[in-house]
């Protein structure tokens, strides 16, 4: 407990910043900007403390903090990090600081509100990565949409309303499906013998569900995550959102938000539904491969820089998904590393595109050309980031991609071959773009007057590039952080779970959370062995408890009819009780 609430500090520090911002006069824009940046840097520094205190060889959750929240429903404030989420937390705090610094000049209207949105967004994203309670996770997951909605909708481009609505509704639709899945899990977990009505993710890992149930629940979660990733064919919100979002919005969107989808797969879909995961591996691998190739091909012909990068994200995230669904240690570790890589390199790409956009107010590739002569420093940065995105060895992209491919190759050669051909395409579309923007002669007069990067812009880019090179040359610290957690995750996926007791009525084990709030009623009813509970319902006693429980049984039985004949009895009993 010596590390008490360090995670919470990281998560809610931005909120404190919001509180401070509210006290600043909105006309003092410079102060607002500096304050926000200071808060984000502080958050990053505190998150580094997480890394310092993190024990590499412990696979489970660390810095765990648990407090009752909505006790009656078994909802907790339950947070913690493991190797997988730690990296993403660091990425989030890092990129948010970068993004805020990058918007010093880009944002000229509603500065205070903008900064508040950025900080709220940071809290939301961090919450997603550390939440270990399903309801808490869901709250952060959906809550994070709101500041993003405003970021695109208020500070975006000409079609921002269309884009932001599409983004919001699309992700929301997926999220709602996930909510259904969460509630179903709640009742399935609580309804099993000795089960507990809780949203505690770690306790749900022990759930042993029949395959059919797993399949449906997996789909409910996977659709939400796949939209967020986005996997083909759920990707079309991404180009629109990216094109319309302000630079910092794009950076966060590409850098962190998309990772929430892949993270969701790792944290929820895979370990909760191991058999369904294996059942769906071919489907998702193929979707990932289609995404890789499709994203690359479509990216190639985009006339708009941001759209090009957006489609390239589809391709890169395809690699991540392929690695994850390889279900080998190299694949998953590569996938996680590639999440970080993509956050860095695509984030940097968006930063660079934003910088050039600020100068020229266009993102069309054809409006550029010959920039290398005019702004050499910018070109150098752009080149390095482009190469990182291509996956050039020695830079970060390669390590992730190669691990993914190696991991995939072990399980399916065809997947690896197809995915590797995506590496060729990446070179094609990125270099073609680079050539059209940077090489050749200056054809537009406006380009001749471009100014090179300012000191602030260099300061924005250099940290990102440092990481890009660092991961490329010495990825060991990053891989080592994830190794233990990934091993545990894979063990979860590969071993079929057996419940501690056989299914059916055995004496219940009293649990702690049954003692609080309106919990006891629910809990008591749930502790009755199934058959007896049905009979009791018929006599019409304990109607309140039964009503709540029977709703759960319905949800459960709808999902698990074939495998659980006894649930139909429950249903009949419940109806008589009404």
């Amino acid at each position: 407990m010596s590390n008490f609430s360090l995670v919470s500090t990281v998560v809610f520090l931005p909120l404190v910043g919001v509180g401070m911002l509210l006290l600043v006069d909105r006309r003092r824009e410079a102060a607002i900007k500096h304050l926000t940046f200071a808060v984000s840097v502080l958050t990053f520094l505190v998150s580094l403390q997480l890394y310092r205190g993190f024990q590499l060889n412990v696979p489970g959750m660390q810095f765990v903090e648990r407090k009752p929240w909505i006790a009656g429903l078994g909802v907790q404030y339950f947070v913690g990090v493991d190797g997988i989420s730690l990296l993403l937390v660091l990425l989030t705090t890092f990129l948010t600081a970068i993004a805020i610094l990058s918007s010093y000049t880009a944002i000229t209207t509603w500065v205070k509100e903008y900064m508040i949105c950025m900080l709220l967004l940071e809290t939301g994203m961090l919450g997603v990565f550390v939440a270990l309670d399903l309801v808490l996770f869901y709250v952060f997951w959906e809550g994070m949409l709101i500041p993003m909605y405003f970021l695109i909708g208020v500070w975006g481009g000409p079609r921002r309303i269309y884009a932001t609505l599409k983004f919001f509704l699309y992700t929301m639709a997926g999220g709602v499906l996930m909510l259904v899945g969460i509630i179903a899990l709640y009742y399935l977990n609580g309804g099993r013998p000795g089960g507990e009505y809780t949203f505690d993710l770690l306790k749900m890992y022990g759930l042993d569900l029949p395959l059919r149930t797993q399949i449906w629940l997996f789909l409910a979660f996977a659709v939400a995550f796949a939209i967020k990733v986005p996997m083909f064919p759920f990707h079309t919100w991404l180009p629109d959102a990216h094109v319309e979002a302000p630079t910092a919005g794009s950076v966060i969107l590409a850098g962190v938000l998309l990772k929430m989808g892949t993270y969701g797969f790792l944290r929820f879909a895979l370990p909760l539904f191991p058999e369904a995961t294996r059942y769906f591996t071919p489907l998702f691998s193929w979707l990932a491969i289609i995404g890789i190739l499709y994203g690359a091909l479509v990216s190639m012909v985009q006339p708009d820089l941001k759209k090009l990068v957006a489609y390239s994200s589809v391709s890169h995230l395809g690699f991540v998904m392929l690695g994850i669904f390889a279900l080998t240690i190299q694949g998953v570790e590569g996938g996680i590393l590639q999440m970080i890589n993509h956050g860095l390199s695509t984030g940097a790409l968006f930063l660079l595109v934003g910088m050039i956009y600020e100068r020229r107010h266009t993102r069309m590739i054809e409006d550029f050309g010959g920039l290398a002569r005019v702004i050499p420093v910018f070109t150098a940065f752009f080149l390095l980031v482009t190469l990182s995105s291509i996956g050039l060895p020695g830079l970060n992209g390669f390590v992730g991609e190669f691990l993914i491919l190696v991991g995939t190759f072990q399980v399916n050669v065809l997947y690896a071959v197809l995915a590797t051909s995506g590496v060729i395409l990446a070179a094609v579309y990125m270099l073609w773009m680079f050539q059209r923007v940077m090489f050749g002669k200056v054809t537009h007069e406006a380009n001749r007057r471009l100014t090179d990067l300012t000191a602030r812009e260099v300061a924005v880019l250099v940290p990102v590039l440092l990481f890009i090179v660092w991961i490329g040359i010495y990825p060991r610290p990053f891989l080592a952080t994830t190794e233990a957690s990934v091993k545990q995750l894979l063990a979860q996926v590969h071993i079929r779970y057996r419940a501690d007791e056989p299914r059916g009525g055995t004496p219940p084990i009293p649990t702690e959370s049954g003692k609080v709030g309106m919990g006891p009623r629910v809990m008591d009813a749930s502790r009755e062995p199934r058959a007896e509970r049905g009979a009791e319902g018929q006599r019409g006693r304990g109607a309140e408890g039964i009503n709540i429980v029977s709703a759960g049984d319905r949800a459960g039985s709808a999902l698990a009819q074939a495998n659980r004949p006894q649930t139909t009895d429950d249903r009949r009993g419940a109806r008589h009780a009404q």
Partner: protein
């Protein structure tokens, strides 16, 4: 020296960093000095390492050092590790030696260029990457620097990026190389999946035991690796980028596209000799591809008019010989040829660079002629290099080429030998054609260029002379053939590979050498006849065989074929995917759902008349219905 192998590649890296960050501030002299000095230090370090290596007994000439762990994920491990053995020793000497001379030469060649610091930055980065490539102790590290040299090649080909053709050529080089790397990467993955390691020593130790000789796995591995080699070393079918790469500055062509980078493929195949030995099928593929490329590129070179392109096709052709050597099991001969080729081909490029420099940028040999009078050093060195390339006794090329051809014949690859011999004839012909058209005969130089015509400054001619000396004499380290100093040094590396490959045919060594010399001399004689004694013959030949001439002039239309079969379909297909599939179908269905809900809502909203009375009425209907249910059905 052997305890700190990192001293060899580290200097160019430092040079790269210094020139990259401060190059614009410290002035041209300092940039040039740093760049050349760093490579010079590498050369000294390499020589020192060679000396130490030679001092050891033959079986102990192998130093391996792991600098730092690199990638570790589960049981996948790869390190930053260096390996020095005779093979890599030869390579680092070639790289740092030829590289040093070319760096020096570049000081003069690039003097007028405004991007002078950038040039040397790239050049140093390349030298570092190339040294690391040959020093790597595992396949993954090899792959890393394999791509890194590709990057440098991209940057240097597109050095004059304002020229669209240069930028295009750079991109083409990178992408075509990526196609090859696709195979390389897959090969590495298959290798790791099969053997669980990527370190050379472990791979070669485990391979014979764990992989079935001639089996599918090892054949697949070697063919995939070879696909990578065809990309990097410009062999059929991926050779198309190299001629275009001549858009880069001439020293680049000399360093990267003649002496060092393009030979990385040969090095890789030679390095993987223990694997290739297990896959006879792959070996014959290598031999055949090499032989075919040698002849194919040579035929194209016959009719080209751009001096650098002639040399470029010659490079492709010579690389073909090296692969031919590898394919027939004569690895040492292939590396020998690699070494001699590095000298004389770099010399050819630098010589043509000197010519181009003197003619203010003219590259068309139809607009040259008679230049020997104006630039004698260039002319004589060029002639030496051309004859060496043609394989004329006793110049370097003769020894190494002859050894490869002998290897083919001795290995029983008669058809492949025939290809090589044919290629040798063609080589002699086009090299001399190039020399005659450029330096001899009547001057066809445009008046304007003639005005400035001059011999290059010493900073350029001195490297030419040094290279010429080497091009003439370096072959003698391999004398007598198969048993020279070179062979005693390098052969042990391929000891394991040799035994399996050698099912010798009985052919005499000396007769074979004389035969190949005669073939080359016939080529020389024919070229002299065509371009010195009877200059009207070539035009007559063109008239008589117009179709053949056009085909050769257009390089068998391969570029056009690739464009039509690969580039265009992908581009059009992508456009189609975006315009006709992504936007209307996928996004359309997303927006379609939205539109559907909208339409439905539009229809539904007509129910909302806004009149209280109709709401009341519907409300009552509802009450009646519910009551009816409660009254009658419950």
């Amino acid at each position: 020296m052997l305890n700190s192998l990192w001293l060899i590649p580290v200097w160019p890296l430092l040079g790269f960093l210094v020139n990259g960050f401060f190059g614009r501030r410290i002035g041209k002299t300092a940039v040039g000095t740093i760049a050349c000095g760093s490579v010079g230090l590498s050369l000294l370090a390499s020589l020192g390492a060679l000396g130490k290596l030679l001092a050891r007994p033959a079986e102990a000439r192998r130093v391996e050092q792991v600098l730092a762990p690199w990638i570790g994920a589960g049981n996948f491990q790869a390190d930053w590790g260096l390996l020095l053995d005779p093979l890599s020793a030869v390579m680092i000497l070639v790289v740092s030696g030829v590289g040093f001379l070319i760096h020096v030469y570049s000081i003069g060649y690039m003097r007028e260029d405004p991007d002078y610091p950038r040039f040397f930055t790239y050049l140093n980065l390349f030298t570092f990457s190339m040294l690391m490539l040959v020093l790597a102790n595992n396949y993954l590290l090899l792959y890393v620097f394999w791509e890194a040299v590709g990057l440098c090649s991209y940057l240097l080909i597109g050095f004059w990026f304002e020229k669209k053709s240069a930028a295009d050529a750079g991109k083409k080089a990178f992408i075509v190389n990526r196609v090859g790397d696709f195979g390389f990467a897959l090969g590495v993955m298959l290798l790791w999946t099969s053997l669980g390691t990527l370190r050379y020593d472990q791979v070669f130790a485990a391979a014979p035991a764990q992989l079935v000789a001639g089996g599918g796995v090892v054949t697949a591995i070697t063919l995939l690796l070879f696909l990578g080699a065809t990309g990097k070393s410009a062999q059929i079918p991926l050779y198309v980028w190299l001629p275009d790469a001549m858009e880069g500055p001439t020293p680049v062509s000399a360093l990267i596209h003649a002496a060092t980078m393009v030979t990385a493929g040969v090095y890789m195949v030679a390095r993987s000799a223990p694997l290739f030995t297990l896959a006879p099928l792959s070996l014959s593929v290598v031999a055949w591809i090499g032989g075919l490329t040698a002849v194919f590129a040579a035929t194209i070179a016959l009719v080209q008019t751009d001096i650098k392109r002639i040399v470029a096709y010659s490079t492709i052709s010579q690389l073909g010989y090296m692969f031919l050597g590898c394919g027939v099991g004569a690895y040492a001969a292939a590396i020998f040829h690699l070494m001699t080729h590095a000298f004389f081909k770099a010399l050819l490029f630098l010589g043509s660079g000197s010519v181009i420099h003197g003619l203010s940028g003219e590259q068309d040999i139809r607009k040259m002629g008679g230049l020997r009078k104006h630039m004698p050093i260039t002319a004589w060195t060029f002639l030496i290099a051309a004859l060496a390339n043609a394989g004329i006794f006793p110049l370097a090329g003769f020894w190494s080429k002859d050894e490869i051809l002998y290897g083919a014949a001795a290995g029983g690859y008669g058809a492949v030998w025939a290809l090589g011999a044919g290629g040798a004839f063609l080589t002699a012909f086009y090299m001399l054609r190039c020399y005659y058209l450029t330096f001899e005969g009547r001057s066809r130089v445009e008046p304007e260029a003639a005005h400035h015509l001059h011999e290059s400054p010493p900073v350029m001619t001195v490297p030419l002379v040094i290279l010429a000396v080497f091009a003439a004499l370096v072959g003698f380290v391999g004398v007598p053939p198969e048993h020279g100093a070179y062979h005693r040094f390098v052969e042990p590396v391929f000891a394991g590979a040799k035994q399996v490959a050698g099912h010798a045919a009985s052919v005499g060594e000396v007769p074979m050498a004389i035969l190949s010399l005669v073939i080359a001399l016939v080529g020389v004689w024919l070229a002299t006849r065509f371009y010195v004694w009877r200059p009207e013959i070539p035009a007559r030949m063109v008239e008589r065989y117009p179709a053949a001439y056009r085909t050769l002039l257009h390089k068998y239309y391969v570029d056009e074929l690739y464009d039509a079969l690969i580039v265009e379909p992908i581009r059009r297909g992508s456009l189609w995917l975006w315009r006709r599939f992504d936007e209307p179908v996928i996004d359309g269905s997303v927006n379609g759902i939205g539109a559907l809900i909208r339409i439905g809502s539009l229809a539904l909203r007509r129910v909302q008349t806004g009149y209280v009375m109709s709401y009341v009425l519907s409300f009552i209907v509802g009450v009646v219905a519910i009551l009816g249910y409660l009254a009658f059905w419950r």
